[in-house]
Symmetry: C2
Amino acid sequence: MAKSLSARQQQILTILESSKDELSGQALHSLLKAQSQSMGLATVYRNLHLLQQKGEVRCRHLPSGEALYAPLARDVHHLTCLECGKSLPLPKCPVERDDLQLHSPEGFTPLFHTLEVFGHCIKCRP
Amino acid sequence: MAKSLSARQQQILTILESSKDELSGQALHSLLKAQSQSMGLATVYRNLHLLQQKGEVRCRHLPSGEALYAPLARDVHHLTCLECGKSLPLPKCPVERDDLQLHSPEGFTPLFHTLEVFGHCIKCRP
DNA sequence: CTATCTGCAAACGTTTTGCAGATGT
DNA sequence: ACATCTGCAAAACGTTTGCAGATAG
């Protein structure tokens, strides 16, 4: 196979896959520690970048700027309320893979996408 | 009309509208200073939040976490290279407004969305 | 007169970096 | 041996907040 993952990268990926939610770098770091697979925070981030470039992991940013990571395959997108900041999962992604290939300029290889919808949730509607 | 903008908010919006690219909070702050419409950086951010909640401004995050702002109407999305970090505009947004309404759970009012595609550009393809 | 808004500087939380030592090939 | 990877602590970054004074209604 084309992709080889280091032991550290495998550990990170395993945790991401076994978590039902996306995880921040810090959360990942804590979970690793809890499983006595501790690694330095910097190492977590360095390997998250590498995993992203290898197409194993995707990432999105909260309005706060915090990054959340998930396995590439988990194709979940969100509705985020601009008022209270909470996110709901978007049941179905309306973007077709084929559409993306079609709309991408020459030579760009799409690995994953993030679709974030912002607005007001039912509680915060003005 | 429903939305009233303060003088500061109007200044910010005008700059965003006259810029062809999205702007970061810091960039906006510099541009305002250059036009002797200087305002504190904190005020820039405070008003960007208000403009977002009023549905005048949209925002997306670069992989670096930096936030970029644009007028709501400017519905441009991007392809971002995970290797070199550069962004290309995505010629046409494949998400239909109707799709979003349809897929949104009860009571969520979508104001805008961001679609970011990540992958490798032609120069960085492995 | 009260509520909101502002500038400033300090604080914040997340992520990155420099470096010296460990690890792997 | 050499390149790569790691932990640590310090630094950097963009953004937010506390507060006292200004401004608006």
